[in-house]
Symmetry: C2
Subunit: 353 residues, 2 copies
């Protein structure tokens, strides 16, 4: 972060024609973006949304309200412009890129979908590792490549989204392992399980965590990969891994990231564990209705801008918060200063007693 530019932006903000602090968190966002972008007047007009799609073998345990074929169908819906994230991207004039990391149902080639298939979905993480180390590295690299494409395209803000039936299960498992929490603390209804379904999903995640714990004990601590990457391969999904890879690359290349909801935040947690400095480049868009999100946000130290009870994923919560970032930048950049406007009120009167 460019601390000097953050201070320059704060000095400008103190001169704008409003009582100090009266724009609340919009002021904080403008200063954060100024320090990230190294510009006294930041801008997030050029937004890149990258949606990573992948299936999750764990759905064979019955952990989702939707069948895995929906992943492929929803990517096609995104490509055709009919999904929530497509509508949002168009409304925001944001670039959108769809990256297929591997679906259980084969996907026909489509000009709007980048084929980066690793496998037809991850393996069933309740019974064995979700990915091989090589597959996990491939997914991380795909995320990194997507971030670099965003930078090459001139993006001022990166949003990562995901589409993958079963991915709240994988995300909850990863978060449980990283935060040392039981399944009950992080498993929720996802796309819409009832309470019996949530209980079942908790048991599946608990079984996966037990399997992971035993496998980790069997591996000598310094012979394996970095712990967060081992957790990711064992319990994650291709989409979660790609998001984590993208977030690390964004941080390394100084591109601000706007996180989405639960899955995105779990990927952010992986990114921060892999590369602690990545936290500086993250902005928090919304508090998801998925109950585990609060705990992950707490671990990341993030306070989201929005709390609209959204729980769709795809990057939709982050996209919804983009106008707030843009308005924060416009206000910061375009408001008149007291001197420019000839307003003489900046020195508060003291109230008579």
């Amino acid at each position: 972060l460019d601390a000097a530019m953050g201070r320059a932006a704060a000095a400008r903000q103190a001169q704008l024609t409003k009582p100090p602090g009266a724009l609340g968190r919009l002021e904080e966002v403008a200063l954060r973006l100024a320090a990230m972008q190294g510009r006294e007047r930041p801008s997030v007009e050029r937004v890149r949304i990258c949606v990573f799609a992948a299936d999750n073998g764990v759905v064979e345990e019955g952990v989702s309200a939707f069948p895995p074929s929906v992943t492929m169908q929803m990517v096609m819906n995104m490509a055709a412009g009919g999904a929530a994230i497509s509508v949002l991207a168009l409304a925001l004039e944001a670039d959108i890129e769809l990256v297929n990391l591997g679906t259980a149902t084969p996907m026909s080639p489509h000009p709007a979908v980048r084929d980066a298939t690793i496998a037809p979905g991850s393996a069933n993480l309740a019974r064995g590792p979700a990915m091989t180390d090589a597959q996990c590295d491939q997914a991380l690299a795909q995320g990194r490549a997507a971030a670099l494409r965003a930078i090459d395209a001139g993006a001022e803000l990166f949003i990562g989204g995901e589409m993958g039936i079963g991915n709240t299960t994988a995300s909850a498992a990863v978060a449980c392992a990283l935060l040392e929490q039981p399944a009950a603390a992080l498993v929720g209804p996802g796309t819409g399980l009832d309470s019996a379904g949530v209980k079942h999903k908790q048991r599946v995640v608990a079984r996966a965590l037990e399997r992971h714990r035993r496998a980790a004990q069997a591996t000598p601590p310094d012979a394996g990969r970095p712990a967060p990457a081992a957790v990711l391969a064992s319990l994650g999904g291709f989409d979660v891994a790609a998001l984590a890879g993208a977030y690390v690359a964004c941080a390394q290349r100084r591109l601000p990231v706007l996180l989405d909801g639960f899955i995105s935040s779990v990927a952010a947690l992986v990114a921060v564990r892999l590369c602690p400095g990545a936290a500086d480049w993250m902005l928090f868009s919304h508090a998801s209705a998925e109950p585990g999100h609060a705990l992950v946000l707490q671990a990341l130290g993030g306070v989201p801008l929005l709390d609209l009870e959204m729980r769709l994923g795809e990057g939709s919560g982050a996209a919804t918060a983009v106008p707030l970032l843009r308005l924060a930048c416009r206000l910061h950049g375009d408001m008149a200063t007291f001197a420019e406007a000839g307003v003489k009120g900046q020195a508060p009167l003291s109230a008579p007693q």
Copy 2:
């Protein structure tokens, strides 16, 4: 409200390619707007922001951190495009109208400012009625006229803003009288009083409430005006009265209103007391950092979309929420249905036990 259209919109929403309820409050906003506008696919592209400016005689009691000359200076700043609300209106491509109801410091004519001067500010409400009944009626009528101009211009959404040093004092006094609360429950720092300043402001409002109570007792109950109008004239400001008049007119003419923060919500409370049906036409944009706002919101039964610790007024909180309403409408109107997208996942699977 058009309940049949609300149901038609809900039926459409149930078919969109997302888990039911996954867009959270954006879904609720789309259905409210559908019922208000009588359209299955509502729209709020055309937004009118009307800012009412007026000074408040009560500032001679030392209740504000800024001198009254700032009201005129800030209206000129708005007219020149330098104020927060001007920047927001431009960014949103919203129409903005500035209406001068009377400032203590004379205002030079400006093509962007509509002169609707009632008096050079209200009288000192701590010592006598803020307005005569005739002045109060003038202010209500100015608000009504502004709403009708918005409708004539084809507005799909009305935002009322205000600019007036001392207007949180008047608003707190009105809210105390209508909600039968003590001054301490509704008086806050406004533009930035310290705690001694807030204490002093509370004493001034308490004195005003005592004066009002005595005056109300002296008036035979059926000889006066409707109680909310009497409170408004006694304790309000021209801007608060104009906002109340605008909100009633919007409801009568079926134009949705997006409320701003504390002052706007107090005006909304007056509007609802004058015309209970007005409540149906109100949407709540943000929770202000001004502490009294929560109590007024509770009385109105409103849950705001945003909580960004803003406390600027001018209509700035409402303007900041406009993109959320627009995205809600776009999602509702433009997303594909399950049938259109060929997505076959809408019947949830039951989870195996």
